[in-house]
C-alpha cells in the first residue's frame, strides 16, 4: 500500500503542485487548506508525512507543528515544512513559544523555503519516507 502524505496549505496552486509531485511518485496525497482542518485530518487519517505551510488562515503551521510534536499519539508523524516564511523565523517563533511556557520541541525533519522545483520536493519526500 502506498504511503499517505498530507499537504496542508491555503494556496490551491501550491496544493496542486505538491499533490501532482506526490501522485507522480506513487504516494497517496491528502489535502487540507488550513491548520485547523489539517490537524483534524492528521488525527483521522494518520498520514506517514505532512507537508506543511506556515502562514495560513485559522491556525498557522507554527501552532500546528507544535501541537503535533507535543501530542503523544502524533509526535512521530514526519513533517516537511514548505513555506515562504524563513526557517530562522520558524525556529525563533518556536523558541519564543517555549519561553512563554510551552514545551521544547524538535526541529522539523526538513525545511524548504518556497518556491521549490518538483524534483527537489520529490527527492526530499523520498529521503524522509525512505
Amino acid at each position: 500500500m502506498s504511503k499517505k502524505v498530507l499537504v496542508v496549505d491555503d494556496d490551491p496552486d501550491v496544493r496542486l503542485f505538491s499533490v501532482t509531485v506526490l501522485e507522480e511518485n506513487g504516494y497517496t496525497p491528502l489535502e487540507a487548506e488550513d491548520g485547523e482542518s489539517g490537524l483534524k485530518m492528521i488525527k483521522e487519517e494518520k498520514p506517514d508525512l505532512v507537508i506543511l505551510d506556515v502562514l495560513m488562515p485559522r491556525q498557522s503551521g507554527v501552532r500546528l507543528y507544535r501541537e503535533l510534536k507535543t501530542a503523544k499519539a502524533l509526535k512521530d508523524v514526519k513533517v516537511i515544512i514548505l513555506s515562504g516564511i524563513a526557517k530562522k523565523t520558524f525556529l525563533r517563533s518556536q523558541k519564543a513559544l517555549t519561553e512563554f511556557g510551552g514545551a521544547e520541541i524538535p526541529e522539523p525533519e526538513i525545511y524548504l523555503e518556497k518556491p521549490v522545483e518538483p524534483d527537489e520536493l520529490a527527492e526530499v519526500i523520498k529521503s524522509v519516507l525512505g
Binding site: Q59, V62, I85, T89
Partner: protein, 295 residues
C-alpha cells in the same frame, strides 16, 4: 469580551505595519493572534475587451500582497504571536465579513474609506457598509491620513461616548476588559439640544445634566473597580461636534461609540453619529455593535 484575535484589513496604502505595531500593546491584555486580510477588488482584474480575465494581474497583486504579509508575519511569529492571512479576489466588505466569521475575530481594523467620491455618492463608503453589516467591533484607523491625529497607542486614553444604547453599554464592557492597556477613560454623554428645548428653565437643564452625570458615575465606578481610572463628562449640543470637542479636551487617543440599529435603512443612507465620526473624525474610531440578541 477580550481582544484575542484581530483582523487587520489593508490595501497597504492606508494601513501599514507601523499601524499594526501601534496596536500590539493589546498583547498586555489578551491579543495573541493577528490575521491579515487583503482584498483584491474584482474591478482590478475583471474581464476587459480584447484581454479577457486578467489572471496575470491577479497573480501579480496576490504575490505583492503575499510578500508584504510574509515580512510582517515573520516579525510577529518571532514575538511568539499567531498569524494568519487571507488574500482574496472579491468585494471588500463581503470578504471581510466572511474572514471575520471564519476566524471568529474579536476586532476588525480597517483604514478610512477605500472608495472614490462618485462611488461614495452612489453606494456609500466601505466603512459605512462594514459598520452596517459587521457584528464584530470595528476600529476605523486613520493612521497614515494627513487629516488625522498621530497616535502612538490608540487604546491608552479612549473616550467612550455613552448614549445608553445596547451598543454603547457593550462598548463599556469591551474597553473594561483592556485593563492592562487602558490608562484612563473619559466617559462622555452628549445631551442633544433637541431634548433640552422641551425644558425651558436652567434648573431643568441642570437636572438633566445631573441625572446623566450620576448614571455616568456608576459606569466610572465599574471601571475603577476593574482598575481603570475613569472620569465622567456631560456635554450639550450636536453629538458629533461635542464628542470631537471632548476628545480634544481630554487628549483622547481613540473615540469609542456603540453603533445603533442594523436594520434601519434611514440610518444606513443618511448616516448616524457613529458612522459620521468613523468617516470624518480625525481620531481613530472604534464602533461596537450591540450583541446580536439585543438587535
Amino acid at each position: 469580551m477580550e481582544i484575542k484575535k484581530l483582523l487587520f484589513v489593508t490595501k497597504f496604502e492606508e494601513l501599514g505595519f507601523d499601524a499594526l505595531r501601534s496596536l500590539l500593546n493589546l498583547r498586555k491584555s489578551a491579543l495573541e493572534h493577528v490575521v491579515f486580510v487583503n482584498v483584491i477588488e474584482r474591478d482590478r482584474v475583471a474581464m476587459r475587451r480584447g484581454k479577457g480575465y486578467q489572471k496575470d494581474e491577479e497573480i501579480r497583486l496576490r504575490e505583492a500582497a503575499n510578500i508584504r504579509f510574509i515580512d510582517w508575519a515573520e516579525n510577529l511569529f518571532e514575538q511568539g504571536m499567531e498569524v494568519g492571512c487571507y488574500i482574496v479576489v472579491g468585494g471588500l466588505v463581503p470578504e471581510v465579513i466572511k474572514a471575520t466569521q471564519k476566524e471568529d475575530a474579536d476586532l476588525i481594523v480597517i483604514g478610512r474609506s477605500h472608495k472614490g467620491v462618485l462611488e461614495h455618492l452612489y453606494s456609500g463608503s466601505d466603512v459605512t457598509e462594514l459598520l452596517h453589516r459587521a457584528w464584530t467591533p470595528v476600529l476605523v484607523y486613520k493612521h497614515l491620513s494627513e487629516t488625522a491625529i498621530s497616535v502612538k497607542e490608540p487604546f491608552v486614553r479612549p473616550l467612550v461616548a455613552i448614549d445608553w444604547s445596547p451598543g454603547s453599554l457593550r462598548a463599556v464592557e469591551y474597553i473594561k476588559a483592556l485593563k492592562n492597556v487602558v490608562q484612563e477613560v473619559s466617559l462622555v454623554h452628549v445631551a442633544i439640544e433637541k431634548d433640552l428645548k422641551e425644558t425651558s428653565s436652567a434648573m431643568s437643564i441642570q437636572k438633566i445634566r445631573k441625572q446623566a452625570r450620576n448614571k455616568l458615575e456608576e459606569i466610572c465606578d465599574r471601571f475603577e473597580a476593574a482598575g481603570i481610572k475613569a472620569r465622567a463628562h456631560v456635554y450639550i449640543g450636536d453629538a458629533k461636534e461635542e464628542i470631537e470637542k471632548a476628545a480634544k479636551d481630554f487628549e483622547a487617543t481613540l473615540i469609542v461609540l456603540g453603533s445603533s440599529s442594523k436594520t434601519s435603512w434611514v440610518e444606513r443612507w443618511l448616516g448616524s453619529t457613529p458612522r459620521k465620526i468613523a468617516e470624518e473624525s480625525i481620531y481613530p474610531t472604534l464602533i461596537v455593535p450591540p450583541a446580536k440578541s439585543e438587535e
